[in-house]
């Protein structure tokens, strides 16, 4: 530890590795989020009927809403434990800037939620009768969109640290901000199914990802500092 240079990249890596190690150690949580995603998606055919044309039409929207809810449920994982046991305060006085640390934590969160969801999505797509091309677009849109969900969600998770009614409150704060990601994400697959150009949707998700990567560490760091004050 002592001979590691204090650079932003090392800070990101440090926080990333630490959170990833914690997540892997309690692998239940990662798997639970995936199972939740699968279960929510599987509820829809039971609710609206197994008519294949209808299922195919709603598949992108259903998968995106389910992904959004899965990410939402895992948000407390980013900060809650570290806040409760005082680790977050230790991190705040570490030589690394808070923005760098939270960047690593957000990356670790995406690795343990968004990425697994994107990986299981094709299997679910088959249940809904989607073709290979549409499945590819859904996976791509989830890959580009779920990191943004982790970033926006981290702001909400940090703002509500230690506040009563935390998780439902986080949902209230975060869900309206998720709407653009939902629109462009689900829109990409819908466009590809309708035979319209879907690259614009993916480009917009990519732009959102870049914008989020620039702005979210600062916003999340500010939110964490407010919570620690």
């Amino acid at each position: 530890m002592a001979n590691v240079a204090i650079s932003p990249e090392n800070g990101v890596l440090l926080a990333f590795r630490r959170d990833l190690r914690l997540a892997v150690r309690s692998k239940g949580e990662v798997i639970q989020a995936m199972v939740f995603f699968v279960m929510v998606v599987s509820l829809f055919p039971l609710a609206v009927g197994a008519e294949s044309a209808l299922l195919k039409r709603i598949a992108p929207g259903v998968m995106w809403v389910a992904a959004l809810l899965s990410v939402l449920l895992t948000l407390p994982r980013i900060f809650a434990n570290d806040y409760a046991d005082g680790t977050l305060e230790q991190l705040a006085i570490s030589p690394y800037p808070m923005a760098v640390i939270v960047a690593g934590k957000m990356l670790a969160h995406w690795f343990t939620t968004g990425l697994p969801l994107a990986i299981v999505a094709p299997v679910l797509g088959l249940q809904f009768g989607l073709g290979a091309h549409e499945l590819g677009v859904i996976v791509l849109s989830l890959m580009l969109g779920t990191p943004v969900l982790s970033m926006i969600g981290a702001v909400g998770a940090a703002l509500t640290l230690g506040v009563r009614g935390g998780s439902i409150l986080t949902a209230l704060l975060v869900l309206p901000l998720y709407i653009p990601v939902l629109i462009f994400g689900a829109g990409a697959a819908e466009a590809s199914m309708a035979g319209i150009d879907y690259t614009a949707n993916l480009s917009l998700l990519g732009a959102g990802l870049l914008l989020g990567a620039l702005a979210s560490p600062l916003a999340v760091a500010a939110a964490v500092k407010i919570a620690l004050d």
């Binding site: 704060l173 653009p180 629109i183 462009f184 829109g187 702005a215």
Partner: protein
């Protein structure tokens, strides 16, 4: 430093009390003029008939809903950069009025949509964006109310409205995108070639709502200041000077 003089709750409290009645009077005059022109003088719309008169409150309330959130975000920036408590109190004072205007915009939009589009709710881009704006307001109020520590609530609320307002243009763009993709309704709420006799009441009502919002926010911030500072010495002095004055009159 002259601006910062009024950034302290104790100096702003009497100033707000002096300004609020003026804005209330302006709101009443403009509102009365706007309602008179809108209901009695503006001609009947040849396409929509009398029902178009709803825009005289729908459009101003929709604008105010948007504007108040932006102003809250400006106060949010001030609260976090200058660390002024009063800015956070202003955000808190504006939020309920913002909610009121947002709900009114949705309500009047629905009542206008039914006879015009044949449905109360049409998922058109403006109405959907306004609904999301309502969610943003509710999120702010829920966050601030959930926190017992006022100092933290002030800062967290300020940060949330900044993040929210940064997202507002993206939300508007995405909803518009979604709306065109799904070929939904896209009826403009106000024709671009609007007659002056129709535009005038709308502007009057807008400025009336604006003055009303300022008056209400000033009064509400007075209530918030007193609620928070009831232990402070200057509040006790306020009491002392007031009783001194009355006793002086009596003597």
């Amino acid at each position: 430093m002259s601006i910062f003089k009024y950034a302290s709750p104790s100096t702003f409290y009497p100033l707000a009390g002096k300004m609020a009645p003026w804005f209330a009077v302006i709101a009443a005059i403009l509102g009365a003029a706007g309602l008179y022109l809108g209901l009695f003088r503006a001609p009947v719309d040849f396409q929509q008939g009398e029902v178009y008169r709803i825009i005289f409150i729908h459009v101003p309330t929709a604008w105010m809903a948007m504007l108040i959130y932006v102003i809250m975000a400006v106060y949010g920036v001030m609260a976090l950069t200058f660390n002024t408590r009063l800015s956070s109190m202003m955000i808190e004072a504006l939020a309920p009025t913002g909610v009121m205007f947002t709900v009114l915009a949705l309500w009047t939009g629905a009542l206008w949509g039914r006879p015009t589009w044949g449905t109360y709710w049409a998922w058109d881009a403006r109405m959907t964006s306004t609904l999301i704006l309502l969610f943003l307001y509710i999120g702010y109020m829920a966050l601030v109310n959930a926190m017992d520590d006022k100092k933290r609530a002030d800062k967290a609320g300020a940060l949330l409205v900044i993040v929210g307002s940064a997202n507002v243009p993206i939300i508007y763009f995405s909803v518009k995108w979604w709306n065109t993709l799904h070929q939904g309704y896209s009826v403009a709420a106000s024709g671009s070639s609007m007659d002056a006799s129709m535009r005038m009441p709308m502007l009057l009502m807008t400025f009336a709502c604006w003055a009303y919002a300022i008056a209400i926010a000033l009064w509400r911030v007075r209530a918030i200041i007193l609620e928070r500072e009831k232990e402070a010495a200057w509040v006790a002095n306020l009491h002392g000077s007031a009783s001194l004055k009355t006793s002086g009159v009596r003597a």
